[in-house]
Symmetry: C2
Subunit: 252 residues, 2 copies
């Protein structure tokens, strides 16, 4: 995973401006935020539960998960974060982490000091607004995850999750959809509330049915329409399709 260019916050700023209209001034202030680059190995925590980190983490490469445990120590992944996401966005305003965060695959993350983030959020209310707005999308995703594990069968759960990821990666516009997916079946099980054994069976069946091929950390979906229908997936909740004119801004 060679880093070819100096990493920056461009992906993150692009993400924010999908949903919120920011001025050049504001984007500039974001771009000048200080950060610290870290590489995290697969299955390695970078925020422990209950910790006060002093930083918020933007994902630059790799997939990252929010990890919760039940009393028996069984894992439940409660969010997946992709390049461009600020994984622990809530920490800007709520610094005590309610969950742990860990890299699902080897990842590159940028830690931005809370003090710096809060300074720009305070100086530019529209930035605070953009962050808050994006955290409402995280919440909408979370609500769909509740529906997923609560009221969908194993097959739909897996399909729905893959659809969500495809849309968030911005690759779901075509008939045939393909993207890198560095997530093991064990992690997939922990995200969908299933056992690894069952995930294996279901994914085998999905492959046999020609719905998805998951191989070599890569997902191939031959027929997106058919696939997303099978997963009961409606992309609206992701708020990814806002025309530039409809982007919001409450702040002056």
């Amino acid at each position: 995973m060679a880093i070819l260019v100096k990493p920056d916050l461009k992906l993150f700023i692009d993400r924010l401006t999908i949903r919120t209209a920011l001025t050049n001034d504001e984007e500039g202030a974001l771009a000048r935020l200080p950060f610290e680059l870290t590489t995290v190995g697969a299955n390695q925590d970078f925020v422990r539960m209950g910790e006060y980190t002093g930083q918020a983490f933007v994902v630059v490469a790799g997939f990252v998960g929010r990890i919760d445990l039940n009393a028996a120590g069984e894992r439940q992944i409660t969010a997946m974060h992709l390049p461009g996401d600020m994984a622990d966005l809530n920490s800007v305003v709520q610094p005590s982490a309610a969950s742990a965060f860990q890299a699902l695959s080897k990842s590159v993350i940028l830690g931005i000091p809370h003090v710096a983030l809060r300074r720009v959020a305070s100086k530019y209310p529209a930035i605070a607004e953009a962050l808050w707005r994006d955290s409402t999308v995280d919440a909408a995703v979370l609500a769909q995850w509740v529906v997923n594990v609560g009221r969908r069968d194993a097959r739909s759960r897996i399909i729905h999750l893959l659809c969500e990821i495809a849309c968030r990666l911005g690759v779901a516009d075509d008939e045939q959809v393909e993207f890198g997916f560095p997530v093991t079946q064990l992690q997939l099980a922990d995200a969908t509330g299933l056992t690894p054994v069952h995930v294996c069976r279901i994914t085998s069946k999905l492959r046999a049915d020609g719905l998805v091929l998951i191989r070599n950390k890569r997902v191939t979906i031959p027929d997106w329409k058919n696939f997303s229908r099978a997963g009961d997936f409606q992309r609206k909740y992701l708020q990814m399709d806002i025309s530039p004119n409809d982007r919001l801004r409450i702040a002056a």
Copy 2:
């Protein structure tokens, strides 16, 4: 459900100031927000999915739920809101509702115009911050719901939910805990991802075991410690125990 005094936003303001330090000025601005009182019957929507309401709703009496559906039309309740909560808090910054909201029991709600809310949030950044902070708690609750349906058995799911409600109602400080709970077994099933039949069996067993009595829209928990342990419940994620000195405020 006679309303004895003129309803106001006091409960809501009290809720916000649990976690965020607000000045008298700011509290006053909140208290002067205009609102419209509505009474909603049980199982009746007051926000439909995808709708742009122009209002955010504060619960004054009764319990309210966020309702999602799967493809088969089966319901999943993805949040429960109690008196003092702003149910669709996210709508302040994200006006298109990703889910429907409905009264679980006959409820009294106050609709506050978004324009008014946004005006005070814009004029007083600390108010925006308080709203955002409370919405991060909603998200933390949601994450626990994912754990609940994903990695806890039927018994723990029901116990955990009751613990959450008890804490949020502020009645969970004692040995014996008791509170009004106007939620049917069918709704309980829709919140926990179970069938009503199974909820019935589990609650019967919990009663037989002396863990909880749910009767007459009222919950009685004889031994809170024992009960919350059985439900794998740790209240920290609710951020209800912030000492006044530790309340946050980023805004000047």
